[in-house]
């Protein structure tokens, strides 16, 4: 006889672990300029957190929690990356020329803000979109 399954432990662990994984992915995304990391691995970690949600719950619940159209996310990411490249043309510089400047921000202190972060944001969004599209398409097919 098949007993009813109970996912209480898995779901409780997932509720805590998802936040830790998302925080780690954001850290690894912003640390990419000076230490290992960057947009690609950060995006993979974020999608791994969403996959953990998919494993503990189901497609419908996760769609209710995160109502994101992942194909649109890919398009937005590509616009970010291309926009960063095109932006350089307005300043009489070649395509994809990046600029950076040091600012004294109130909370962070002496910080260098670089336009490569905007390019990396595009990479981040595209990686999340592509991974989640692949996995949801495979998961939905009966």
């Amino acid at each position: 006889m098949k007993t009813k399954t109970n996912d209480l432990i898995l779901q409780t662990v997932t509720k805590v672990a998802t936040f830790v994984i998302v925080l780690f992915s954001i850290h690894i995304f912003f640390a990419g300029h000076y230490t290992p990391g960057g947009g690609f691995i950060g995006g993979l970690m974020t999608s791994s957190a969403i996959i953990l949600l998919l494993l503990a719950f189901d497609l419908k619940t996760v769609k209710a929690i995160l109502p994101i159209n992942y194909l649109l996310l890919v398009a937005v990411g590509l616009v970010f990356s291309v926009g960063t490249g095109v932006g350089a043309l307005f300043f009489d510089a070649p395509f994809l020329t990046h600029a950076f400047q040091y600012f004294d921000l109130p909370l962070f202190g002496h910080t260098s803000l670089h336009t490569a972060v905007l390019f990396d944001t595009g990479v981040y969004l595209v990686v999340i979109g592509v991974t989640m599209t692949i996995i949801q398409t495979i998961g939905e097919s009966e």
Binding site: T5, T35, M45, F57, D58, L59, T61, I138, G139
Partner: protein, 94 residues
Amino acid sequence: MLNFMLQLALLCITISMGILVYRVIKGPSIPDRVVALDAIGTNLICMIAVLSILLDTSMFLEVILLIGILSFTGTVAFSKFLEKGEIIENERDL
């Protein structure tokens, strides 16, 4: 002295990973293999920690967390497949 101890630790981890590989190949049931693969992931984390002390760098510390997360997700996916037959359900029956 420390270098020798670290290399000894690496050797011990390698031996235990070899024994786990034996369990993955031989293991009579699939849950045996899944548990062995999870333990191999944990041993890999230990190996990277020892290696980052040996190479005197802190650049591998992200890899440790990364392998921990990936091995957890992989084991959960495997065990869900073994229990329910599908990894991602369309709608859970409560």
